[in-house]
């Protein structure tokens, strides 16, 4: 049996009568890197602050390493946090910043020095130990913030959008460093981000939050392949999944046939429970659409815009007969498609997604 490191039990949080977290239950296993992801205002940072002890839940309970810490002081929870703003003490050198918690704890000077040196070595901060934060670059500051967390040897690392203040290239670099660090330390980590690329690349488990509730929890590829609802489908994956309005023509237990303005498409799908004629959403990821061979069933449309990124090209296509709808198609980098071109787009029906009127995913694809 795996060890549970953090357990949230029906946690809610209200600010002045406004409920921000609406009953969240979650288990984080020991050694996992769990990413909370969701749009602005979904409650992900609040949830992290509740775990850190910077806010107290309105109702519900919180356990860390088996102990009830719902009302425990932040320093008594065995957590260390890396803040979005880094929150480095500006008047202390890198060395003093990293060693501050140990000094408070009353550790011997030699012990503090050794621990700080070890953390600095891991994070390549050794030549910067005597500098003040204002003499550091953004990436270096971020590493100091991580160093400050490492020396405390916490049960759980908490990261609150730690890379959002860095430029794109540095963000990629730090992402790799955090992944490497997590692999080498093996400590439980909870990481908040609004960037689904960070979530996909770092997480062993993703928690998608929306409006203070958990929409879905799962491994990154699980969420990508089997989104539980339209929200998760739209949030995970970049560019986002194309959604087309369709109606259910027939479902016979093994397949579902949907009607579109361009005819019907049959999807191999078990357990579709919707009624005939019900309005559904057909989800097609940009990477699962391709230009059709002559004999393939396809959606036709006109190219509106082409974005060339070098390695890949995104074509924005207006499908015939769908009002105000647009399909994004991922093509090879050197594909010769151009605006105004007429195209036929085909897709693998096993990889298409179907959502009911309430937004929930319909049926399962046979493996």
């Amino acid at each position: 049996m795996t060890k549970i490191s953090v357990r949230l039990n029906d946690v809610t949080k209200s600010f002045g009568g406004h409920e921000v977290i609406k009953g969240v239950s979650l288990d984080v296993e020991h050694g996992e890197l769990v990413v909370f992801v969701g749009p602005s205002g979904c409650g992900k940072s609040t949830l992290l602050r509740l775990i850190a002890g910077l806010d107290t839940p309105t109702t519900g309970a919180l356990h860390i390493a088996g102990k009830d810490v719902t009302y425990a002081h932040p320093s008594k929870r065995g957590v260390a946090m890396v803040f979005q703003s880094y929150a480095l003490y500006p008047h202390m050198t890198v060395e003093d910043n990293i060693g501050f918690a140990l000094k408070i704890k009353g550790l011997a000077k030699s012990e503090i020095k050794a621990k700080v040196a070890r953390a600095a070595d891991i994070l390549q901060l050794t030549p910067l130990l005597k500098r003040l934060p204002k003499a550091l670059s953004g990436g270096q500051r971020q590493r100091v913030a991580i160093g400050r967390a490492i020396v405390r040897e916490p049960d759980v690392f908490l990261f609150d959008e730690p890379l959002s203040n860095l430029d794109a290239s540095l963000r990629g670099q730090m992402r790799v460093e955090i992944a490497r660090l997590h692999a080498s330390l093996g400590a439980t980590s909870i990481y908040v981000t609004h960037d689904q690329v960070e979530a996909m690349t770092l997480a062993s488990k993703i928690v998608v939050l929306n409006g203070g509730r958990i929409e879905q929890v799962g491994a990154p590829l699980d969420l990508y392949r089997n989104p539980a609802n339209l929200f998760v489908a739209g949030f995970i994956g970049s560019p986002r999944m194309n959604i087309l309005p369709v109606t259910l023509e027939a479902a016979d237990g093994a397949s579902a046939t949907v009607a579109t303005p361009q005819g019907t498409f049959s999807l191999p799908r078990t357990g579709v429970t919707a009624a005939q004629g019900e309005n559904l959403s057909l989800g097609l990821r940009p990477e699962h659409l391709h230009l059709a061979q002559d004999d393939e069933p396809a959606l036709t449309g006109q190219v509106l815009l082409v974005e060339r990124l070098g390695g890949e090209t995104f074509a924005y296509v207006a499908p015939d007969g769908f009002e105000n709808q647009q399909l994004i198609v991922r093509l090879d980098g050197d594909h010769a498609v151009a605006p105004q071109d007429r195209v036929r787009l085909s897709f693998d029906p096993r990889r298409a997604h179907l959502f009911g009127e309430d937004g929930a995913a319909l049926g399962r694809t046979e493996a």
Binding site: A52, V79, Y89, P90, H91, F100, Q140
Partner: protein, 301 residues
């Protein structure tokens, strides 16, 4: 273009005229007067140039020596006490409490009335032999104190008046406290630092630019204190509250020694200048500026 310059000069002229007439001219005139034996009852043209005699006379003048020592005592007592008290009040008023805005206003009120003559008059009544404080002490069967009649307590009443005007320093401290990012305290909470530890390890170091500013302002103001000793104690008893500004005033307008009074003003000016310069010189040792280093980014990685 020429016309624009003229219009600009016109706009700025009230300040320029005011500065020249009421600041620059008296400033220079007092310097020249301090080198003469000018007397307020005589024509200025009768004054004789006497070199640095006025300055020499000061060091033989026991009253000046007494006044100087009393002034230093007053400054050294009031500046640290007032800064500490204003900071304490600012920290208390920085708590998120119900109706905190009301508290802030109420605590700032004394500063609006502040060092005004009216408050000094009230102060005299409060500390008088049959004043409010003594009446209170009588009620408590503690016996009265001759507040304004004893050298030590007369100075005490002036110091207290100065502390009473803590509001402006407090408001500046409050602004400084609000400028410290809250996530530093959250990080310190996680690091296990107690509130007192946070105050000394985070608040105080990050507040040093504000402390420095307030320190300079208080030094300058304390050396110039006039209303208190003039109205409440008259400098007495036995010159125990005879601050230098009061001596300057009396030399000029009671004894009509314009030249000597001007020399005293210049000595006071030089003392304030030296203290301010010392404060600026010392700031590299204790004032911490958290501003970004413009070259910080390029020094990285």
């Amino acid at each position: 273009m020429y016309k624009n310059k003229f219009v600009g000069a016109l706009y700025i002229s009230p300040f320029i005229i005011g500065f020249v007439v009421f600041t620059a001219f008296p400033f220079l005139a007092s310097l020249i007067l301090s080198l003469t034996d000018a007397h307020l009852q005589d024509q200025l043209s009768d004054a004789h140039f006497i070199g640095l005699d006025n300055y020499g006379a000061m060091f033989r003048d026991a009253t000046f020596r007494k006044s100087l020592s009393v002034t230093f005592l007053y400054v050294f007592l009031t500046v640290p006490l007032k800064l500490a008290f204003a900071l304490l009040m600012a920290v208390l008023l920085n708590f998120r409490l119900r109706a905190i805005g009301l508290f802030r206003t109420v605590y700032y009120l004394p500063s609006i009335l502040g060092g005004s003559v009216a408050v000094a008059v009230v102060w005299r009544f409060v500390f008088a032999g049959d004043g409010l404080i003594n009446q209170l002490l009588h009620h408590l069967h503690l016996g009265g104190v001759n507040w304004l009649g004893e050298p030590s307590t007369a100075m005490f009443s002036l110091v207290l008046l100065r502390l009473w005007e803590f509001g402006s320093a407090m408001v500046v401290f409050l602004a400084g406290l609000k400028a410290i990012p809250s996530d530093l305290y959250e990080a310190a909470d996680l690091d296990g630092a107690s509130r007192i530890r946070q105050f000394f390890s985070i608040t105080l170091p990050l507040l040093t630019p504000v402390i420095f500013f307030n320190f300079i302002m208080q030094i300058v103001q304390a050396f110039q204190e006039f209303n208190g000793p003039y109205i409440i104690t008259g400098g007495g008893p036995m010159k125990s509250s005879y601050l230098l500004p009061l001596m300057i005033y009396e030399e000029a307008f009671k004894y009509f020694q314009l030249g000597y009074a001007s020399a005293l003003s210049w000595v006071l000016f030089l003392i304030i200048a030296v203290f301010t310069a010392l404060a600026f010189w010392s700031q590299s040792k204790w004032v911490f500026y958290a501003t970004e280093n413009p070259n910080g980014e390029s020094r990285g990685e």
